[in-house]
């Protein structure tokens, strides 16, 4: 039954109605390094703390203070866990950071700083911004908060972070601390949460001096020290540790894949002992990049003392001859184009003309602009005349090169066209004359894979500025 079309305004109204009916969970802070993002469970809650009474075995009759716990350096993010949001913002801003509030829905008291990203002790982010998570109390009514950390625990946590003092001089206060410990023990069932030490036998904490050092409380005679170390993985609690020393900031494995070997070694040496950086070399054909192809551990892993880094670097296969008829500049273009395909657009940028014309079987099949080039999926098209490739249209122009990578074979760079075993003529009849007059080279699979099923021949046209101007993909006749 014919109907009148909707007007633009009606359609706009309906689409916005539809959009508003889609619930979108709040996001975690934004990670700007190109690595996988994770959904952050609102049950961040799992908070916190602990405790211990370290014996500062100093001194016989010396009354010396225990070795002071070093304060955070000015270039690190201060800990604000447990402080009121206002105090937390003030402390972070005083440290020279720009604070962005990130409300979350969790079972914790409202208005208390729950976490920062980057976490406490991390170096200042490059952009100077830090996300401060606090409880969005208005939205927590639907949560089951039976396992939440009691409010009084947060008072202890806040005190440990330089907040208002809690009197720890009596047994009741001591019990509070033990309660905190018990809470932490309760977190042991949570993946990724560990506690390395329980309360020491130092029975009474006679007084507190939260202003002296963050995370440390000392007794009058300095016989007992109370120190809390909190480690985080992202925004979640990763470990609670007791230490006499200032907490070490666990480094995070950087992105090394794709870097030249020297740069990768240097970067790895900043996060582990340089002697623990191991490099293996893998022959990767004539177009090998000399760059890191694999890394262990993977990017984003938090490293601990004694960890090592293993790198695999692609090197040119021994005895690899120069392909006849291919210049160094063309070989470099081929390498970058192959890299673009193999890395699905995340590798180095290929040197492209502003508009790259695509041909399939010598017939025009579309264009790719420099703006789209990183999205390898856009390198595809259909010849308007159909033809033998129409059955698989749209054809991915770089699909053959990607298949080579998947099959772990080396894409060949050739100066001359090679005939395909099942058809696919050499004459580029449909390619405009201006391309035919350009220099060009060819990418194909190795000879052993020049079969009807898997072969292709990708002619790459290079303009006067040594940029890729056009691609012409020829496939075997099916």
């Amino acid at each position: 039954m014919p109907t009148d079309p909707l007007t633009d305004d009606q359609a706009r109204d309906l689409l916005h109605h539809a959009a508003r009916s889609i619930d979108v969970a709040p996001s975690g802070p934004i990670v700007t390094s190109p690595k996988t993002w994770r959904r952050w469970a609102p049950a961040l809650a799992a908070a916190v703390v602990v405790v211990i009474i370290g014996v500062s075995a100093t001194v016989v009759g010396g009354g010396g203070s225990p070795a002071p716990v070093g304060p955070s350096t000015p270039a690190t993010v201060p800990s604000v866990l447990g402080l009121t949001t206002t105090d937390a913002v003030a402390r972070l801003e005083a440290a020279g950071l720009e604070v962005r509030l990130a409300p979350v829905v969790v079972c914790q008291p409202p208005g208390i700083a729950l976490a920062t990203l980057p976490g406490a002790g991390a170096p200042h982010p490059v952009n100077g911004r830090v996300d401060l998570s606090y409880n969005d109390d208005e939205s927590r009514i639907d949560l089951d908060c039976s396992g939440a950390l009691p409010e009084r625990m947060w008072a202890v946590v806040a005190m440990l972070n330089g907040g208002p003092a809690v009197d720890l001089a009596d047994r009741a206060a001591r019990a509070q601390v033990e309660d905190v410990e018990a809470q932490v023990s309760g977190l042991l069932d949570t993946p990724g949460v560990t506690i390395t030490k329980a309360l020491t036998p130092c029975d009474d904490v006679a007084s507190s001096d939260p202003s002296s050092e963050a995370f440390r409380i000392t007794t009058p005679d300095d016989a007992c020290g109370l120190q809390v170390v909190i480690e985080r993985s992202g925004r979640a609690l990763a470990a609670i540790r007791v230490s006499e020393q200032p907490p070490a900031v666990a480094p995070i494995m950087p992105i090394l894949t794709g870097l030249p070997e020297g740069e990768a070694r240097s970067a790895a040496g900043t996060v582990v002992d340089p002697a623990q950086v191991f490099v293996a070399y893998r022959e990767a054909g004539c177009g090998a990049s000399g760059r890191v192809a694999e890394q262990r551990p993977t990017t984003g892993r938090r490293l601990t003392s004694g960890d090592s880094v293993a790198l695999t670097v692609d090197v040119v296969t021994a005895g690899c001859g120069e392909a006849p008829g291919v210049s160094d500049a063309e070989r470099e273009l081929a390498r970058s184009l192959i890299g673009l395909a193999e890395t699905d657009g995340t590798g180095d940028e290929a040197d492209l003309a502003e508009q790259v014309e695509l041909f399939v079987g010598h017939a025009p099949a579309g264009t790719v602009t420099d703006l789209d080039a990183d999205a390898v999926d856009t390198w595809r098209g259909c010849p308007p005349s159909g033809g033998y490739s129409a059955f698989s249209c749209p054809v991915r122009l770089l699909g053959g090169v990607q298949s080579d990578a998947v099959n772990d074979v080396e894409t060949q760079v050739r100066g001359e066209a090679v005939p395909l075993p099942c058809g696919g003529g050499l004459a580029a009849a449909g390619v405009p004359q201006r391309f035919a007059e350009m220099d060009s080279f060819f990418l194909t699979p190795p000879d052993k894979l020049l079969t009807c099923a898997s072969t292709y021949r990708l002619q790459v046209f290079v303009d006067a500025s040594s940029r890729i101007a056009a691609l012409d993909l020829v496939l075997s006749e099916p």
Partner: protein, 162 residues
């Protein structure tokens, strides 16, 4: 606009765009993250683009198309949704929204895409054409047909629209 600022401002809209484009709500977040990750790699280009939404939506459309053509996604679809244990609040607007989503689901992917980009993201015909990889004229004709198709759903024209 810096990447973080863009994501903070547009993430919710992008997730909703993904659903309107036909992605399952459970996959939409992943699709948006994949698209943003691709854009992050060449964020300079996005910054230089006239309309960042147009660039990002182009990538998002490709991500969703690719996901749709994948034969096996590792998940088993179920006809009936499990009990959520929590009844959502449904006002008239919400019900209208659901009715529109049901109607969109009956349209072709081409029509869903053009309606979503033109009338939810408010992209121009030119930007929509660039995002979908078609000519502006195609966007115009496709929009016209899509409006007829969407308008054929009588429940969207009733006074309470659900």
């Amino acid at each position: 606009m810096e990447f973080e600022e863009y994501v903070a401002a547009r993430r919710v809209a992008l997730v909703r765009t993904a659903v309107l484009l036909g992605a399952r709500p459970t996959d939409a977040e992943d699709h948006v993250q994949t698209a943003l990750l691709r854009c992050l790699h060449s964020w300079r280009r996005v910054q230089e683009a006239d309309h960042p939404d147009a660039y990002v939506s182009k990538v998002l459309v490709n991500v969703i198309r690719d996901a749709a053509t994948r034969r096996w996604t590792g998940e088993l679809p179920t006809e009936e949704l499990p009990e959520t244990g929590r009844a959502p609040t449904m006002g008239p607007d919400h019900l209208t929204g659901l009715a529109v989503r049901r109607a969109l689901a009956t349209l072709s992917a081409d029509h869903r895409e053009v309606l979503t980009l033109r009338f939810y993201l408010d992209l121009s015909e030119r930007d929509t054409a660039a995002a979908l990889g078609v000519a502006p004229g195609t966007v115009k004709s496709r929009t016209s047909r899509a409006l007829v198709a969407l308008g054929s759903h009588a429940e969207l024209r009733s006074p309470d629209a659900h």
